[in-house]
Amino acid sequence: MNAKYLILIAGLVLAAALVAGCTTQTAQPAALKLGVVSSMTGPASTTGRDMWQSAQLAADEINAKGGVFVKSLGNNVTIALVQGDDESTREGGQKVVTKMIADDKVDALIGGFSSAVVTAHQSAVAENGVPYIITGASSPTITRRTDINTSTMFHHCPTTDDYGAKTIQFVDEIMRPAINAKFGRPADQPLRMAVIYQDSPYGKGVLSAVNDTIAKNGLPIDIVASESYKMGETDFRAILTSVKAKNPDVVYPAAFLNEQVPMMTQARRDVGLNTIFLAVECNDDADYYKGLGQYGDYSIIESRFSPYTVPKGPISANVEKYQKDYAAKFNTSPGMMGAATYEGVYVAAAAAQQAGSTGRAALVTALGSVQVPEMIESMENGTISFENTFRESKSNLYMEQLHWDPATQTLRPKIVWPAALKETEFQIPDWYRPGSV
């Protein structure tokens, strides 16, 4: 009996070796080859799948229209995607990125989610001068590294700096005056804000953006508490009890979905912290609304792509079409990182057309000056383009307020800021208790 298992083990190893040996490259016709760095395995795989699927959708759409015209080749080429599973680890990312660069000979890379994973394969990208449109990692350090040449890397998604800055701007412009007016406080009374942040580059990045924005603009916002917690935490009652004792007017968690949902539920249900919660954009996902239920009523979330609302204006038709096509193709609703990756494929195609070439260096140059009209996310000046210093695109983040509908038992968002996109006004619920009157 033992021998059978021995043979089984040996067989497994051998079979795998054969498979590994047999993966050969088949000759490809002329194409714009894009490597999609996404986590198909591991903790980040939900986001990773979304990124990969949205890239497929974009490539299919472009190819259905006949591909991209590339002048140096004299005709249209199709988009060929290469899937690069970084396994949500640094080692996995390093292996798959060198594979895509050296073996698959991709013309450009798109994707990259966790900042830790991205930093571990950036030097391979830099050494080979490969254009890389980063559509997932939120740390601004990614394109600010000085130890390697990051000039081929373009950051097409808001950074933690953007999250904090926009949210504080909204709090100062809308929430502070509204709260002061409602409770008869002097107009210049500072707002008391508590920050609860994940102990990670993401959480700390948001915290420092909050502090920097307040200090830089001299805003009347007092940070009365900043509490950290460990990634993946599910029990926030002790933290929330201590936050409640500091009497905040508003609470800003820099958390992931699996943390923010229990945090807000515990705050409203268990601790009786009857205040308005803010949320970072990456939480704007169907699961967020489902998980929060009635406890999300009147809370605020920052966003650039929402499953349940479409910003008014030029992009609304695009967003609706994208959501419909994505649902039809993959039988699930699209997420935010996927939206940026979808645009990333289009941006790469536009760069190839502008460059008239699929060469890496030509693509890098073209990406530096490319102007793509905004697609499914609202962008500053209505175009996707990368500024020259740190090669970041700037999106128009907006704020949504969530409302619970007892009749349908659903929680749904409405855009309340900025003025150009808003659907309705910001409201303060009756149960809201300010920190001090």
Binding site: D199, D235, R237, A245, P262, D270
Partner: protein, 293 residues
Amino acid sequence: MAIDVGTLLQILFWGLYAGCIYILLATGVNLIFGVMKTVNFAHGELLMIGAYVTWTLFSLTGLNPYLLLVATVPVLLLFGIAVQRLAFRPVLGSHKLNEIFLSIGLIYLFQNGAAMIWGSDYQSIQSPFASMAVTIGSFRLPLDYVIIIAVTIGILVGLQLLLRRTRLGLALRATSQNRKAAMLSGINVERMDMIAFGLGAALAGAAGTLWVVSGQVFDPYMGSVPAVKAFAIVILGGLGSIPGAIIGGLFYGVAESAATYTLGGAWKDAISFIVLIVVLVIRPTGLFGERGE
């Protein structure tokens, strides 16, 4: 940092609730160790499987999730027996390190098996009592937590009755105290191993149901942190000591809260280990542990 008495009591109550999960896990670990002298590092994955079993049954039947405890516990009992029979028994009596390595294999197997079956997305459900609360003095205690604490006490009392008042319990305790003597007096110790492991898994399954019912989110990787805490509690409280597990569990709740206040939330996990290491340096068998194994 001034905290009023009300706040302090409230935090203690949260600790008590969180402690329930830990205590159920730690009691299971202790029971298994007592009888088999084996440590299953994949114990947290049994918690996770318990949570998913409850969730699956809830999705299928729509019954009150508290009732599903009756279904989840037997499922995990059988699962535990199977794991013991197929994985742990073959290495029993070989080098102790083998059990640790085996557990690591089980962690990979269970976590990713669960991700294949149920997907890796977060899941959560809401208890039918989610919006109800009990008011005691100035406190508003959510009804769910009161029920959870009551259920945990009920399970622990039931376990004590099983161990103290039944023939099976006598046999389990005899095996735990002296395996050879138990064998000589006609107890089938291999069966006791399976039952102890099954009971440990069942306790973890109950903890999984309570986790789900309290509205906490869960995913295939949720088990490792609570399990690590449970092990730390067991070591602190002493192997084989059930009162030690309860006191250890409560102590940990306080230590974690204190660390969160003074050092910051990042220290919440690390503090468990600092306490553990300090204790082991002073007393290598834990605070309440018997000398030797």
